[in-house]
Symmetry: C2
Subunit: 242 residues, 2 copies
């Protein structure tokens, strides 16, 4: 059996997320349907992780097994010709037999974009906020996030995991007149973690919460103490590293 | 009468261009309808220039006259609340009584984007080419374009103008792994001029036409000698300067 690794880009706006759900338009469901039809065998795809409804990706990674002896090119151009405008295969590669898109991932990188005015060219991929926040507080909070912490307070209560410890390799904001961007790279992410982190940082940088409480909120491990969950449309999975 | 200057952004994908046409979805038609309904008087809008069907804008400028005494803010937030997701007012300003969005424009700046693979996040705003071209030839041709020339050979034959002389203040390409971008700033542009320039440069940079013929094609003033017209989706009106 061949093990094929795919790098996938999608505009999450019209998807009910990555993971297959019966009767819903999901990226995994779409890819499995098109691959199964192209290869004339039932294909199951394994993603590096779920992305929620409305979240985008330019570097999602997935793998699947097949016995078909067709050139890699068919998983790029061939599959792309079957995919709609909002999903595409960027790259197809032969992977080692044991390669597992989820378990083998060493780190993942996400980006969150914020804009402050209507922008037909950008608003599919950004959270449009009405009021500015304090950039210095955002940058201070990003520095607090760096390193290893228990992120229970910043995880959806639905998360089904054994522990909530993540190692944040990089976290920081960049600011332009048009757009504020948060980038975060970590060994793993919990459900809704980036969106709750961004929502909390913004609440604090607007003075709706005290930024001096951030460390305490981390320590107390209680989701109800963190801020709101930022909208899905601003989030994009940039890269999965192996 | 007040003279209001609007700066407008739109995703051109689903518009039949800027200019009003009966029964078509155009940006001018949409703005006139929403403004007339909001102000309860018939409003005519005057744009800095037409953009074709499928062409985008982040800095289109237009002006209109009104006798209504409502705050400028209403032409931003109020009008935006009536506009669909693919068009927005970025700024509204009081202009001098004689301000004319088209005749007073000193220069305009356009951008043309090219990508080389499927990209759901970028392909609404870029021409997806299947084969690479020679960047050195593109940059050489951009330098040929700079300065004052008669652009008859690079104008749609439908152009209704007295002369075809344009002063190109800036023209150049930038290249990243993901995207090739052509930027051009001039005192005026003829119909389809940027798209024919880009199409011809690409034909030459791929060896389908001889780049040594470029100067001759300019001199001869014959549209049939230039290359193809690049697709509308890659083009964006960035800025109009007064």
């Amino acid at each position: 059996m061949r093990n094929i690794k795919l790098t996938i880009e999608y505009d999450g706006t019209d998807f009910a997320g990555w993971q297959f759900q019966p009767g819903q338009r999901t990226v995994q469901g779409l890819l499995e349907a098109k691959l199964s039809s192209m290869l004339e065998e039932k294909i199951s795809i394994l993603g590096s992780g779920r992305t929620d409804a409305g979240v985008h990706a330019v570097g999602q990674v997935a793998n699947f097994k097949t016995s078909r002896d067709i050139p890699l090119r068919a998983f790029e151009d061939g599959l792309n010709s079957l995919l709609p405008h909002d999903a595409a295969v960027i790259k197809a590669e032969e992977a080692a037999e044991k390669f597992h898109a989820r378990f083998d991932a060493k780190s993942r990188r996400y980006r969150y974009q914020i804009i402050f005015r209507r922008s037909p060219l950008k608003e599919r991929f950004a959270w449009r906020m009405l009021y500015k926040a304090d950039p210095a507080i955002l940058q201070y909070l990003a520095a607090q996030i760096s390193g290893q912490h228990d992120f229970t307070s910043f995880s959806s209560t639905q998360a089904e995991v054994n522990n909530f410890i993540c190692l944040i390799e990089k976290a920081g904001w960049t600011f332009t007149d048009d757009m504020w961007t948060f980038e975060i790279k970590a060994n793993r992410f919990l459900h809704n973690m980036v969106r709750i982190l961004v929502g909390t940082m913004i609440d604090m940088a607007r003075g709706q919460m005290d930024h001096n409480d951030f460390e305490k909120i981390l320590t107390v491990k209680d989701r109800t103490l963190a801020g709101k969950t930022a909208p899905a449309c601003g989030l994009c999975l940039m890269e999965v590293l192996y």
